[in-house]
C-alpha cells in the first residue's frame, strides 16, 4: 500500500497509515527523493504514529530517506514513534543517529519551520 504524501508549501508530510512491506518502504524513499527535487522541498515530516513495529530494515530505510533528503537540501523530522516501539528498538540495538525526532506532527512542523526560517542551520 503506497504511503500518501501531502505537500504544504515547501514541506512534505508522509504519514504512514499501516504496516509497510519492504517494497512499500523502498517506494516511499524513491517517491520522496523525486518530489524533494521536483517541488524544491526544504523540509519533510515522516509520521510513524501508526507503525507498531520498527525493525532493522525499516530503521535502515528511514535513515536512508533522511540522509538522501539532506543531501538534496531538505531536512527531515521523524515523528510519532510509539513508546513500545521505541523501547523495542533500543533493546534490538537500533538508533536513529543524526535524525531529528519529535513527539508528534505539530512539533515536527514547528521544528522544521524554525530550521527553514533560521537559514541553513537546519533541523537536524
Amino acid at each position: 500500500m503506497p504511503v500518501p504524501i501531502l505537500k504544504q508549501g515547501d514541506v512534505l508530510i508522509a504519514s504512514i497509515q499501516a504496516a509497510l512491506s519492504d517494497k512499500d518502504l523502498a517506494q516511499l524513499r524513491d517517491d520522496l527523493a523525486d518530489r524533494v527535487g521536483r517541488f524544491r522541498i526544504r523540509g519533510l515530516v515522516l509520521d510513524l504514529t501508526a507503525l507498531d513495529v520498527l525493525d532493522s530494515f525499516a530503521t535502515r530505510m528511514i535513515r536512508s530517506i533522511v540522509y538522501t533528503s539532506k543531501l538534496r537540501g531538505a531536512e527531515t523530522v521523524v515523528v510519532g514513534i510509539q513508546p513500545d516501539v521505541a523501547f523495542a528498538m533500543v533493546q534490538l540495538g537500533l538508533a536513529l543517529d543524526g535524525v531529528a525526532t519529535a513527539l508528534d506532527l505539530e512539533d515536527g512542523l514547528a521544528i522544521l519551520r524554525r530550521g527553514i526560517e533560521g537559514g541553513n542551520a537546519g533541523a537536524a
Binding site: S21, D52, P83, D84, V85, F87, Q91, L92
Partner: protein
C-alpha cells in the same frame, strides 16, 4: 491442544503477516502491549533473515503453558545455506548481507530464551521463547 500457527515465509509481505500473527497470539496469551511489541519485533527480524538468506522457510508460533506459566514459542525454520560461524553471527554489527547486523543478537535480547541451530548446506532453526511476567 494449545493454539499453534504456521506462517510460510517467502516474500517481504510474509514478514508483516508473521509479526501480526505473533502479536495476536501474544495478546491472546496475556502479554502486555509492550511485550507484544518485543515479540512482534523479534519475529520480524527472524522472518527477515529467512527472506534475505534462505529465500523461503516458515515461522511457527506456539502458545506455551508450563503448569500455569504462560508464554510463547517462536520457531523460525529454513532450509537455506546455514550459518558458517554461529558465534560470529550472534555478534552485534556482524552481517553478511550489508544490513545493520542486529537481527540475531537483537532478537535474543528481546526474548527470554534463544537457541540457534544451523548446519551448513542444510538450514537454520532459531527457537525463541518469552514468558508472561
Amino acid at each position: 491442544m494449545l493454539p499453534e500457527t504456521c506462517v510460510a515465509i517467502e516474500r517481504d509481505t510474509d514478514i508483516v503477516t508473521a509479526r501480526q500473527k505473533g502479536r495476536e497470539l501474544a495478546a491472546a496469551t496475556g502479554f502486555s502491549t509492550t511485550d507484544q511489541t518485543l515479540v512482534a519485533t523479534a519475529i520480524s527480524e527472524m522472518a527477515r533473515n529467512i527472506v534475505t538468506h534462505a529465500e523461503r522457510g516458515e515461522i511457527v508460533l506456539v502458545a506455551l503453558d508450563d503448569s500455569g506459566r504462560r508464554g510463547i514459542m517462536v520457531v523460525a525454520r529454513d532450509e537455506g545455506p546455514g550459518i558458517a560461524d554461529a558465534e560470529l553471527a550472534m555478534k552485534d554489527g556482524y552481517s553478511t548481507a550489508n544490513s545493520l547486523g542486529v537481527g540475531l543478537p537483537g532478537a535474543r535480547r528481546l526474548m527470554d530464551e534463544f537457541h540457534l541451530a544451523s548446519t551448513l548446506g542444510k538450514g537454520t532453526t532459531v527457537t525463541m521463547k518469552k514468558w508472561v511476567r
